[in-house]
């Protein structure tokens, strides 16, 4: 009897063990602000369909790039990882040819628009997948109702200061800012890059050919000086060096602050998260240096597969799953801050632009057109985003001057370019 029981247990064990052994878990490392519940839902749906589990490793945004790069440098990268991708960072941030799976032959690649494909490719090979927000990149979200009450109109020039002053006198923080996040306050300068191109046509090519420096770019230093002025005049309030990015919506919804640089689709999220808030919100372009050109961002966060992973087949399976039309539509429909997603038209996704976004598009003079954000057009800017953030924070603290901030950016560009073997810097 004992022998029979032992035999039965052994047979059951043999039957069960392979299923345990086959269970695959993919680790996915991401910065805290880049994914939503929709991404987690899709990961769960993938697990349900394939049995392959997805384990999320969510990093604080100020530390994600450093942690990821350190892991990759140590040869211990996660199976899947995200970066703020563009055609340069694919090489300089993650050394894609060395660390990433080549997806060039995958059929899902064509679901991304050409500019997005370029931002996740290097030397003609596609290494990443990204479906991010479509529209004007990071305008200023503002409390339309409060503006009306104070008799303020949307500023299009440095009149912005007058608007901030009027809001400040009412005891409301004009602009919510969160320096500890490390990346957000850099947007003020980099998201108006197309204005610098407007002031000095051909400047991007000259910068990339190392024929000029950022310190010689008309308006670049002015933007930093104006940003410093905003801090000095108290337009960011008093807690900007301690504020958390996550609290932007609560501050706007409760009228503690009136404006925030944010993706325009987040107006939708704000309304859903704070139903008690009856204020209406709109969006306008960052008006530093009188910038009024809309800028598109073909970059944004994108995911990559680790070439040294033992589970490359499963990674490819997961990426193909996410690229299905119904899953892209699910991400769009279930991400509160996303009203339009940047995918190829052929996918046939139904976008949901808000009235505020349509009004923003309508407010942009057609003669201005739409430019590309500087971190995607000027080399070695995105690579040092967090360093620029630290420099700007030092400037806010009075430890650096605007001139020193610009020089430091130039110095780092030269350093990265030389290390990358860029012929323009030889």
């Amino acid at each position: 009897m004992k022998k029979l029981l032992l035999l039965a247990v052994s047979l059951v064990s043999l039957a069960v063990l392979p299923s345990f052994a086959e269970k695959v878990k993919l680790t996915q490392m991401v910065s805290q602000d880049w994914t939503t519940e929709a991404d987690e839902d899709l990961a769960k749906a993938f697990t349900k369909e394939t049995g392959v589990e997805i384990e999320w490793q969510v990093n604080p945004s100020a530390q994600h790039h450093d942690l990821l790069k350190t892991k990759l440098n140590a040869g211990e990268g996660p199976d899947i990882f995200w970066i703020q991708s563009n055609k340069w960072t694919v090489k300089t941030d993650i050394d894609a040819p060395q660390n990433c799976i080549d997806f060039s032959k995958e059929t899902w690649v064509k679901t991304m628009p050409p500019a997005k494909i370029e931002s996740v490719s290097y030397n003609g090979k596609v290494y990443g997948q990204g479906y991010f927000v479509k529209g004007v990149s990071f305008p200023i979200i503002y409390n339309k109702t409060l503006f009306k009450e104070l008799g303020l109109s949307v500023p299009k020039t440095v009149d912005f200061k007058k608007v901030c002053e009027a809001i400040k006198t009412k005891g409301v923080v004009p602009v919510y800012e969160c320096v500890p996040a490390g990346w957000h306050h850099v947007l003020w300068v980099m998201q108006i890059g197309d204005r610098f191109s407007e002031l000095q046509p051909g400047i991007v090519d000259k910068l990339n050919a190392n024929k000029t420096k950022l310190s010689d770019v008309i308006g670049f230093k002015t933007a930093i000086v104006q940003l410093q002025e905003m801090v000095k005049k108290g337009y960011f309030g008093t807690d900007y060096m301690d504020n958390s990015y996550d609290n932007w919506a609560s501050n706007l919804a409760t009228r503690k602050a009136a404006m925030f640089v944010q993706k325009s689709g987040e107006i939708n999220a704000l309304s859903k998260d704070y139903p008690a808030c009856k204020d209406e919100f709109g969006a306008f372009l960052i008006p530093l240096v009188d910038a009024q050109t809309a800028q598109a961002d073909p970059d944004g966060p994108a995911r990559f597969g680790y070439s040294k992973s033992k589970h490359q087949k499963e990674i490819k399976q997961y990426f193909a799953f996410l690229a299905r039309k119904e899953n892209i539509q699910y991400k769009l429909d279930h991400t509160p801050g996303m009203t339009a997603i940047d995918v190829a038209d052929s996918v046939g996704v139904e976008q949901h632009y808000l009235p505020a976004e349509k009004a923003l598009f309508a407010s942009i003079p057609k003669s201005k057109g739409t430019g590309i954000i500087w971190q995607d057009s000027v080399s070695y800017v995105n690579d040092q985003w967090m360093d620029v953030g630290k420099d700007l924070a030092s400037m806010f603290m009075g430890q650096m001057t605007p001139e020193q901030v610009v020089s430091a950016i130039d110095e780092r560009r030269a350093k990265i370019a030389k290390a990358a073997g860029d012929t323009a810097w030889k």
Partner: protein, 291 residues
């Protein structure tokens, strides 16, 4: 009898091999790499002499300030931990009711991870919503409320304070172990001679406690010079770059792919550690012998 007490010298070989293979050799390789332009963007490594060290002292990043920050942290954080820990240890070795409870409570922060401590204190020290300022305002002391992690005048005090809160229990425990090893006879004899509390502290406790003081000072200084975690989780080197130290700079350089420069900074740290650590251990050990 002698033969029974002595062990052959080759018994040390396995440990020595591990130490040389896992510490000495990698350290020497690291020192070697600090003279190269090794980086993530290029497969070729070239000898660049002292270029990386020149960069450390001349670049706009002010690494020299980070070195000073590290030294100041090592000294101040030690004083802030060792002095209170010594008095707490003396107090909790006396006839205090519930002393085991207090010992446990004071030791508890030591077992928490730096990440947890960082998250807790970032919340506690927030100027508007943090517990500390809330309490200060609540008890009628709003003028004491501050921007603990973003005011350049307060940020170092905050870091050192949190570090002391976390590390005090560990230092205290070592002192308690040292105090328990001092025979009561010395104190009884001193009582007969009419010695007071301070006299007993200066002439019995402190000299007899020198081994524990040596351990705490040496551990504390090396910890202070190698500090990384507490700063990374509390301020990430900010506001701006105000609280950067050598190891946060090493981390940043490695993360940005400048391995040569990163190893140069590590080498500098090794030199600073040796320059401070070796004389410190010699002096302290000498004092132990004298006392």
């Amino acid at each position: 009898m002698t033969r029974n007490r002595l062990y052959p010298l080759y018994f040390v070989l396995p440990a020595l091999l591990l130490y040389v293979g896992l510490f000495i050799v990698p350290s020497l390789i690291g020192v070697g790499y600090s003279f190269t332009d090794w980086n993530r963007y290029s497969a070729d490594i070239h000898f660049v002499g002292l270029d990386n060290f020149r960069t450390v002292f001349t670049a706009s990043k002010h690494y020299d300030v980070y070195i000073v920050n590290t030294l100041v942290f090592a000294v101040v954080s030690n004083i802030v931990k060792i002095v209170p820990a010594l008095f707490l240890a003396i107090l909790l070795c006396g006839n205090v009711k519930g002393k085991n409870f207090y010992r446990t409570v004071l030791f508890l922060p030591t077992v928490l991870s730096f990440l947890v401590v960082g998250l807790i204190f970032r919340s506690v020290l927030h100027p508007s919503t943090g517990l500390l300022n809330g309490v200060l305002r609540g008890i009628g002391l709003p003028f004491l409320a501050g921007r603990w992690l973003s005011d350049p005048n307060l940020v170092w005090s905050s870091i050192i304070g949190v570090d002391a809160w976390k590390g005090l229990g560990y230092v205290m425990t070592i002192f308690i172990a040292g105090l328990q090893a001092i025979s009561q006879d010395y104190y009884d004899a001193a009582d007969i001679d009419g010695a007071g509390w301070w006299s007993k502290l200066a002439n019995i406790t402190l000299p007899m406690l020198m081994p524990a003081i040596t351990i705490n000072v040496v551990f504390g200084v090396t910890y202070g010079l190698k500090v990384f975690d507490i700063i990374y989780v509390l301020t990430n080197g900010g506001p701006g770059r105000m609280t950067e130290v050598i190891n946060t700079a090493v981390f940043n350089e490695f993360a940005s792919g400048s391995y040569g420069l990163g190893t140069a900074l590590s080498t500098l740290l090794l030199i600073v550690l040796a320059l401070i650590g070796i004389p410190l251990i010699r002096t302290m050990t000498k004092k132990e012998v004298e006392s």
